[in-house]
Amino acid sequence: MADPLLMDRMFQRIMRGLVETGRAPHYAEAARALGISVEEGRRVLHDVMQAYPIGWLHPDTDYIASFPPLNNQPTQYRITVRGAQRWFAQCGFEATSVTWLFPGETVRVDAPCLDCGDPVTVEMRDGRIVWVDPPGVVGHLNYGFGPSRGRPPFL
């Protein structure tokens, strides 16, 4: 396992890259920013993902797929800030956490309902819900938490 300080720096490089651009950096880009070799960057990326198992790499690659609360791979949970729809949340639950990545900003979550396809919209600012449409929007956990459930926890 890499040095904890270096892992913290890699974590922040990824998270802030996502926040600033909507996309996670490749490990080679992150390595350059951190002043380490490309191969060391790849190893540190894997260490970070092991220490942050609620995110994941695309299988059999070094590509970041999910780095919650945001997702590098598009999902149905579109995030809009300052009028720009540049981000995706990992899931509907994590979507309510994205607000903490944009302090002082209104964060809008738009998603189609998986039953009917009609829109679900939630706006939050500094953790507070400021707009919900329709008013009856609910969260739903389909498989339960924990590895014993045998299904990906994000479903």
Binding site: G92, D115, H140, F145, G146
Partner: protein, 79 residues
């Protein structure tokens, strides 16, 4: 972990699991669940080493506070 227009919409979802009848959470509780203290530090330089390790205990405490104490929510083995 999804958002639906209402509980009725979730129940009509073809992938809805029978056991997941206990899987509903209000939006306000959800925002609280995903807005606990550690979540507010995701941009801190020491988030991974200092804050993330506190997340599991914090989540459990919040779930118990909103009375979601079943294995389904706590991720504990079924009795």
């Amino acid at each position: 972990m999804n958002l639906f227009r209402s509980e009725e919409h979730a129940r009509r979802w073809p992938a809805f699991q029978p056991r997941a009848e206990e899987g509903f959470i209000t939006l306000a509780d959800l925002a609280g669940f995903f807005g606990t203290e550690t979540r507010r530090h995701m941009l801190d330089p020491d988030y991974l080493s200092t804050w993330y390790p506190r997340r599991t205990a914090e989540r459990r405490a919040y779930l118990e506070q909103i009375n979601k104490r079943s294995p389904f929510w706590l991720g504990t083995p079924d009795p």
